[in-house]
């Protein structure tokens, strides 16, 4: 049997599926050979982007770049290889009293993927994107050279790579800062909002909170449009924790390790997922306002508790459509978007709304700009492309942007913030699609 590295590869949305070469190496020398021996290469982390961003002719998987390099426990500075997952960082950081400054809604992404997408979290308005906390990284460029990029050296590459979607090269290692925490728990408040006006007001009122996000029921029409639950949170100090959590405040109970390991049959997954979603959605919360302490896993990563939840959308897969509309016309834009969705009959199971703070001008390839961002999941079907075109048109009308790391269908005009990344070597299917879409 001769090895054959051509295989079916697909990302989190199970759309599109391609048959391409995918290879992984752990020696820098071999990675260099891989880069030099192929015309078109793209890096892939854990495939948690939804669409075609980390797919290409020759995919370099960072799966084997999974080692830690150093951890300055005094100053909270960690260095690791790019294929290390954020969950692995948390595993060693949290018991030491540290947390990620910025985390996406799943911890199963790699450090390389977090940089290449310059991910944001529930705290964008207060703490910005992942890039703010990156001190330096090593990048393999087109000629197989390894360069160190920071704000001081190779600054142009440093900034182009933030949100550069892997088009500037392969990130090999990265060093970044962590934040101090006193406990593994979050002091949370969740507040029901009847409609868009109310949820926008709540967001603006909550600006002093570190974390805010809203789960929105996007199937509502008319006066109920924008019915949602706002969640806001702070890392809990030890002194404020309820008794039951004070014994080992930086360690979570074991139950979380039990959840993930095996593949659920479809019917269980469905029942479970629906339960969790309903819980997160409007129905479960009977009081208008609930205050409590919850562990960080439940607060930041509710979806990770259900292994392989992406499979509920079936074989045809799904897309996530995430866009941002500038703040001044945010409400008007969102209303139009929600109306278009409700009218299309293309329901979204999961919809998340969030207010972004000011963008970092230096990280010009990052997706966030100040404004309202909405992320929606849609099952792929024959009507979907038409809806995406409609949504794209609304986003364009309001001067917004589409998030590339979740995109697999949008128009190039909305994605033109991708600058200084032209390369004939590092090419993704997404980039080709966007360029040809002109």
């Amino acid at each position: 049997m001769k090895p054959n590295f051509i295989q079916k590869v697909t990302n989190w949305g199970n759309f599109p599926i391609v048959e391409k070469e995918m290879k992984s190496e752990d020696s820098f020398k071999k990675i260099k050979e891989f880069v030099l021996n192929h015309n078109e290469v793209i890096a892939r982390g854990n495939g948690r982007c939804y669409g075609d961003a980390s797919l290409g002719e020759h995919i370099f998987s960072t799966k084997k770049l999974n080692k830690f390099i150093s951890f300055d426990r005094l100053n909270g500075i960690i260095e690791c290889e790019s294929g290390v997952l954020l969950s692995e960082v948390l595993e060693i950081a949290v018991p030491q009293g540290y947390f990620l400054y910025v985390t996406p809604g799943t911890k199963l992404v790699t450090v390389g993927g977090a940089i290449a997408s310059d991910v944001h979290g529930k705290n964008h308005h207060s703490e910005g994107c992942f890039s703010e906390y990156v001190i330096e990284f090593k990048l393999m460029t087109e000629n197989g050279e390894i360069i160190t990029c920071s704000r001081e050296s190779n600054a142009d590459k440093f900034w182009a790579t933030m949100g550069g979607m892997g088009l500037t090269g392969i990130i090999l290692t990265a060093k970044f800062k962590l934040k101090n925490i006193e406990s593994a728990y979050i002091r949370q408040e969740s507040i029901k909002a009847e409609n868009l006006d109310e949820i926008f007001r709540l967001f603006e009122e909550s600006e002093s909170w570190t974390y805010t996000v809203a789960w929105i029921d996007c199937l509502q029409k008319g006066k109920d449009i924008g019915r949602s639950i706002l969640m806001r949170g702070e890392h809990a100090f030890q002194h404020e924790l309820p008794q039951s959590m004070t014994k080992n405040p930086l360690r979570l109970k074991k139950k979380f390790q039990l959840v993930v390991p095996f593949y659920f049959p479809g019917f269980i997954l469905n029942a479970l997922t629906v339960k969790i979603f309903n819980f997160l959605y409007y129905k479960k919360q009977t009081k208008r306002e609930v205050k409590d302490f919850i562990d960080y896993e439940t607060f930041f990563y509710p979806l990770d508790l259900v292994h392989d939840w992406n499979k509920i959308y079936g074989k045809s897969g799904f897309i996530q459509y995430q866009m941002v509309i500038p703040k001044k016309s945010g409400k008007e834009g969102m209303k139009k978007i929600l109306e278009a969705i409700a009218n299309s009959g293309n329901g979204s199971f999961l919809a998340v709304l969030k207010l972004f703070g000011k963008d970092n001008q230096e990280a010009y390839n990052s997706f966030p700009i100040e404004g309202y961002t909405l992320a929606l999941d849609f099952k792929v079907n024959s009507k979907l492309k038409k809806l995406v075109d409609q949504l794209d048109a609304i986003v364009q009308e309001f001067g917004g942007r589409v998030y590339l790391t979740k995109d697999s269908m949008s128009k190039s005009s909305l994605t033109n913030y991708l600058k200084n990344v032209q390369s004939s070597k590092f090419v993704s299917l997404q980039h080709k699609r966007i360029i040809n879409n002109k």
């Binding site: 590295f5 390099i69 150093s70």
Partner: protein
């Protein structure tokens, strides 16, 4: 802990598993033919578990200077050394391929194993874990050079277990089936029969805790190999396995 074949993903996963379970070692000795990647692993262990590790360069195909190992003292030995070589079609009549397979999996490995076995014997304690292969359970046309070297290794472990029994040293034979590792990357393996390194490490750790004698990584392989071993030779010789 002494690890022979430290670049093996299963060996690395086993070390991590043991440390996660709270095992502590004065030092972990990582024997390797690939210094760069093993040094990265040693640093990783230090960052993740505050565990000291020493990287020891070793090329089984070269003369070994045993005096360099005098300082090594431990009571677990994990041997993941293995070399598959080229399969029958490409490699059967290539004598260098044949020699290399036999040397790495058996001929050159055994004296090294013996060196440490003797240390364990004189201390009257310890566990030796050897990764053999299901390929050693019966010779099949597709890889019987490798399989025969592993069969020899299996027999060696069995004899060593017997010999060390009343010297209070335990020997465990692990027989992995397919594993998702560098050795098998790019091969079309059946996922139900293929263990991921972490999964394999958990199974091996379990065998270690329970002080098993012989264990398959995935239980299903025990059944498959029982069937394969029992096919009568006059039928077996006609099969394309």
């Amino acid at each position: 802990m002494i690890v022979l074949g430290s670049t093996s993903e299963v060996a690395q996963a086993f070390v991590e598993k043991a440390l996660q379970e709270g095992e502590k070692y004065e030092k972990i000795y990582l024997f390797t033919s690939s210094k760069e990647t093993t040094e990265r692993f040693a640093r990783h262990l230090d960052v993740k578990f505050l565990q000291q590790a020493e990287v020891i360069d070793l090329d089984l195909m070269k003369e070994i200077d045993y005096t360099k190992f005098d300082h090594i003292n431990s009571n677990v030995l994990f041997c993941a050394v293995g070399y598959m070589g080229d399969g029958t079609e490409e490699g059967l009549y290539d004598h260098r391929n044949t020699e290399r397979i036999i040397d790495i999996n058996y001929a050159k490995l055994i004296p090294l194993m013996n060196y440490f076995a003797q240390k364990f014997e004189s201390r009257r304690s310890g566990t030796i874990i050897g990764l053999s292969s299901v390929a050693g359970d019966r010779g099949r046309q597709s890889n019987f050079i490798y399989g025969s070297a592993k069969a020899a290794f299996t027999a060696y472990l069995s004899g060593l277990r017997n010999y060390l029994f009343d010297k209070k040293v335990h020997v465990i034979t692990i027989k992995p089936g397919f594993m998702e590792t560098k050795m098998t990357e790019g091969l079309p393996l059946n996922p139900a029969l293929t263990a991921k390194p972490k999964q394999a490490a958990a199974g091996i750790y379990n065998a270690y805790r329970k002080q098993k004698n012989v264990a398959y990584v995935l239980p299903v392989w025990g059944i498959i190999m029982m069937i394969i071993r029992n096919i009568p030779e006059f039928i077996f010789k006609k099969l394309k396995l």
